[in-house]
Symmetry: C2
């Protein structure tokens, strides 16, 4: 196994601090204070011609004077001095550098030029350079501290090895999450903030953490991704290695699409695409620092068996109901327990207690330790629940702690406790495999995504679909009118209704005779975007005479509408009817590439934003999941006596659309079928209109 | 001023504990332990023939032996002994009692009978009886502890007077919220849990707290309300006295309506009505214990000037953006600061900082205390923001603390701090009028409702509308067919289109001639609920001949559909068209009485639950607010080139509908206009169909 190229940056065997200071409050002094205080075992080379010694270490005059090239040089110097120093580091053979200085790309044109110069220089070397405008790192397992983060002075230092890595695009966020998580007792592996990402970007750090043996969990914060494919690959590696990835994506409100060319563009906000991609990659998306810290904590229990079906055991009916409400609201299940299990529980629970789930064992029962253990064992063995949650405040939890720990040792199922009081047994429980929360809201917010992740992982559909062979590249016709776009999509299996292009009224009538009545005719013109407004559409034509007459009227109307419009013909289509109309569209996301949006057609869909998104490829099973996410899905499934639609055919059409779009590759910017008509169950689906916008238009 | 009848229960001058125990872990010992330990100044009478003395107090043989009648008797005895003891208490002249015992209404038919007996007895006395199945109370100002809540043994006891009262329908919830709030330093006035509410219900306690001088804030938890009007009156008294009321209503998911008779029934879930009523009464609704505790804490700062427009001051661009995102997501505003204010700030903030809002003062600035104070003063004086939030972790906040406190003393505007580090100045700031949060999520969840409440209170629209005189009672016609229902509503000002009832084809043709074409005809029958399905509706009739023909066809079709249907005539209406169709309906909520639901008509409205609710009465301004809450409101306001609707007319129609429903009073169970057609701006609105269901049907 080769060493990852970021190894000297994140796990250096020797560190030089250029611009060393003896003042632990200064950025040139703080990393030295941390390194010496926390016992870094590698060599440390402070560099500053003003000092002979700092923090009890020999201080060197300059980088050239060092007896050997250090793995890593930390540059605690001003922006304008950075590039000359990097040159000297490279000459010395330094493998990696961290640039603290601000004043680069974030600081106007001059700074951007300085950063471009830095990037150009680094590209010509073997050096790995972090930052600029970064706070530096900490490897909490080797105590390689290369940051000027004061949080290490105030947060309690961990006593043993850690397996949680922090990766953020903001130094202050890194410090804030670290402080919260340390208060919860989370032990860390890496503390990483990426700064301006001039030479090493978020995805590269993530790639490092995916293969890093010490890292089992990554908790991250990002504002924007530069390298989508690399990010996807790193996230897949996390999933493959059964590591948990929790990410906070800044910007919870969608930016307005810059230029809305298709309906799909208006529906596909960038935040929605991030949400979809995270879900497809089994990444837990967080919007809260405490939740992130709690998830990092919970991840320590991820090897226990757990899932969405929760048994709630309380000493209070009200709190049982509150917990059930919150868990169900967060997407978990609180199933009624099987009768046999209820009978087992009833044996020890008085009549005024409850045994169905939530289970109210009543306050008295905790005085009967034999029963508590028997009840917990019965729940541990039951196939009807995946996770057992115990709510008992303070001394009541203390009385149950031994039994909980014993059962948790005996069975692989996850037991979780909530104590809103002041139980003294919390640490005993945590060490015994039972995480303890102090608050119901926090518990719900961390448990729900964690338990759903537990269920989802190892059977990720998208990663399987991605491994299938890509469709062969399809050629793009010169003109992408509606007819040609539909033909192109139909070649990949998107169902089309019978239709023909006619140049004359006679051809149109003949086409209609062949297709069968009633028919629709539509103008085909690259210059007429809104056909209906131009009078370019005629519906429900019942015979050849009507077709002939409508042909003339459509041409006349379109010529009046735009005398210069090029008219390529008239499209004659069978008049189809069905149960519902979908919009199925693909747009190119700058980070994740081609993404799919599915919704019910119409103006309300846009107002309600009732759409589902995925990054391509999407197969039929994923398409079904997308349709199921729509609030309007009941309309497809047969709502209030309406006939159900052909959902199977719609899913097949969406999967075929995905293949078609991937086959077109970078030739198109957007592709949209709007509407895709879904007919009654068993009768299929078909495109009624389609649009493709080539790239660069 | 007379004393409230709950005074001896909640602020007793003397307390007897019937069933006293010397064991502080038993329910008969715990209140005595609390009373003696926390220094209750009133007389305490332990009663138990087994003891001479408990907790250093003389123990009395029985209630009859007491030298005087105590204000309050706490009954720590079994359910079957309660009623005999209450009789003896009444005979002694005891004014109030608390019943701990379970085994009443919550415990099957036998318990229910026992409770009914208790209620009947108490109704014939002057005694006030709390519970049964209650944990007891605590008055934290007088230290009158009458509960067996162990939380007082573990939570730190407050040092001075408190002004926050806890009122819950669950003893365990009372204890859990108390523990959380005490950790935040909230000082309490009353600790109340209501138990089975046999004789005193939630609304009566709330009424007590509204007039209680010690109580400035009530934080409550409820499962169901028994007395809606009393609750409304108490909540109004809270608002009138400028006290804050925060309530958690259990059951976050709506129960399915038992019998769906109108569309409105399907749209008006009970939780939605609670949400609407709370909002109309300026009650902050909470779903989280920590948020409740934080709001109780924040309420201590409610006399400072504050509102929704927040200036965010940070030392980190990333955290400024995160805060702005969260605040805007929670309904607050983060307005761009006026240029003059930006210029003032820029004078002390380096180029790489930000001055627009969020303001990034950068880490360096905190070293310049003169500037910090100047900047804070400028923000305190600005009319462009209502509230100033400072995010600075740990030592950075410490450096700003003196300035923050000084400015906070100088100006009435609310300053709030968030410290995700470990600032030592937290208590200094809190004492100086600056609340400090430790977490961004918690801060947002408490600040947003608090600041919005600050803005809303003192200009409550509903309470003003309620004070207006009620409309005169309207008589209900014998038969409530569509025509008569519309006439009834029209009498109160709900706009109707011209329409007439016709008994013959000739009458119908004459009516249509008078109304003007095109017209619609509809069957009028109390037996045909779904007119369209019965063939009982014909649209777009253009002349008298068509009307005559349609008249015969409608009758024939309806007779085929249901030969026994009573047909009262044919309604001839003008065929109207407009911009959008609303559903406007009233249903009777068992707690809050007649409530109004407004939404856009159609099947999607039901799927998306895009509706707004209010408890009646509703005036035009409230109607406008309701329409504005609809996600589909843009359709009314002129969406994507559509003509805007006559929103004014729609609001007037809704207010008239409210008056009509109130005039009908308890004669109707449901009234619905579906649809109310909204025409283009300036052209009005009108009922297209209406339905009224008399009470008891």
């Amino acid at each position: 196994m080769t060493t990852h190229r970021l190894e000297p940056l994140l796990n250096p065997a020797s560190i030089a601090i250029v611009g060393a200071s003896s003042n632990p409050a200064r950025i040139g002094g703080m990393p030295l204070a941390h390194l010496t205080r926390f016992g870094y075992a590698g060599r440390i080379y402070p560099i500053n011609p003003k000092y002979e010694e700092v923090f009890g270490l020999r201080c060197w005059r300059d980088i050239e004077a060092l007896p050997a090239a250090p793995d890593l040089a930390v540059l605690a110097i001003a922006a304008q001095d950075v590039l000359p120093m990097l040159r000297r580091c490279a000459a010395k053979g330094v493998r990696a550098a961290i640039v603290y200085a601000a004043g680069f790309a974030e600081a106007g044109a001059q700074g951007a030029a300085l950063q471009a110069e830095l990037e150009a220089f680094v590209a010509g070397t073997d050096m790995v350079v972090a930052g600029p405008n970064a706070m530096g790192f900490a490897n909490l397992n080797s105590q390689a501290h290369t940051s000027f983060a004061s949080v290490f002075n105030t947060a309690p230092m961990q006593q043993g090895p850690g397996s949680v890595s922090l990766l953020t695009q903001s130094g202050n966020v890194c410090a804030a999450v670290y402080a919260i998580a340390r208060r919860l007792g989370v032990d860390f592996s890496h503390f990483i903030n990426t700064g301006n990402e001039a030479c090493v970007d978020f995805a590269q750090y993530l790639e490092y953490l995916a293969q890093d043996a010490a890292t089992q969990v990554c908790v991250g914060y990002m504002e924007e991704l530069r390298d989508g494919p690399r990010f996807i690959a790193a996230a897949e590696e996390f999933a493959r290695r059964d590591k948990l990835l929790v990410l906070y994506k800044a910007g919870e409100t969608d930016k307005g699409a810059q230029a809305v060319r298709s309906h799909t563009s208006a529906l596909a906000g960038d935040q929605a695409i991030y949400r979809a991609a995270f879900r497809q990659l089994d990444i837990i998306q967080s919007h809260d620092f405490v939740q992130m810290a709690q998830l990092a904590h919970l991840a320590g229990y991820r090897h226990r068996r757990a899932g969405r079906r929760v048994a709630i055991i309380t000493i209070s009916g009200a709190l049982g109901a509150i917990l059930a409400d919150k868990f169900i609201g967060a997407g978990l299940d609180v199933p009624t327990l099987p009768q046999a299990l209820q009978d087992q529980l009833r044996a020890g629970i008085p009549d005024y207690g409850m045994v169905s789930n939530p289970v109210d064992v009543t306050g008295n029962v905790v005085n009967d330790p034999g029963f508590v253990r028997t009840a917990m064992q019965a729940l541990a063995q039951s196939d009807a629940v995946d996770t057992v949650l115990v709510y008992a405040p303070g001394y009541l939890l203390d009385r149950m702690a031994d039994d909980l720990c014993a059962v948790s040792r005996q069975y692989p199922k996850l037991f979780v406790a909530i104590d809103t009081g002041a139980a003294t047994a919390r640490e005993q429980l945590r060490a015994g495999g039972v995480p303890v929360f102090e608050d119901i809201g926090v518990a719900t917010s961390a448990l729900a995504p964690f338990l759903l992740w537990q269920e989802r992982r190892r059977r990720n559909r998208w990663m399987a679909v991605r491994r299938q062979s890509a469709p062969a590249r399809a050629a793009l016709p010169d003109s992408l009118d509606e007819y040609r776009t539909k033909r192109l999509l139909a070649q990949h299996g998107v169902p089309a209704a019978p239709e023909r292009v006619a140049a004359t009224a006679d051809e149109a009538a003949a086409a209609a005779d062949a297709i069968g009545y009633p028919v629709v005719i539509k103008v085909l013109s690259p210059d007429i975007a809104h056909k209906t407004e131009a009078g370019g559409v005629r519906l429900r034509l019942a015979d050849a005479a009507q077709v002939r007459q409508a042909f003339g009227e459509v041409l006349a109307s379109c010529r009046r509408h735009d005398p210069r419009a090029r008219i390529e013909g008239i499209l004659v289509c069978r008049m189809e009817s069905g149960v519902a109309e979908l919009i199925v569209g693909a747009t190119r996301d700058p980070v994740f590439g081609m993404t799919l949006t599915v919704g019910l057609g119409g103006v309300l869909t846009e107002l309600y934003q009732d759409v589902s998104h995925r990054v391509l490829p999407v197969d039929e099973a994923m398409a079904r999941e997308m349709l199921g996410e729509l609030k309007a899905f009941p309309l497809l499934a047969g709502y209030r006596g309406r006939p159900p639609g052909d959902v199977d055919a719609a899913c097949a059409a969406i999967a075929a659309f995905s293949r078609a779009v991937l086959a077109l590759g970078d030739q198109v910017a957007e592709v949209e079928v709007n509407p895709l008509l879904v007919k009654e169950a068993g009768q299929g689906a078909c495109m009624l209109d389609a649009l493709a916008i080539p790239s660069g238009q």
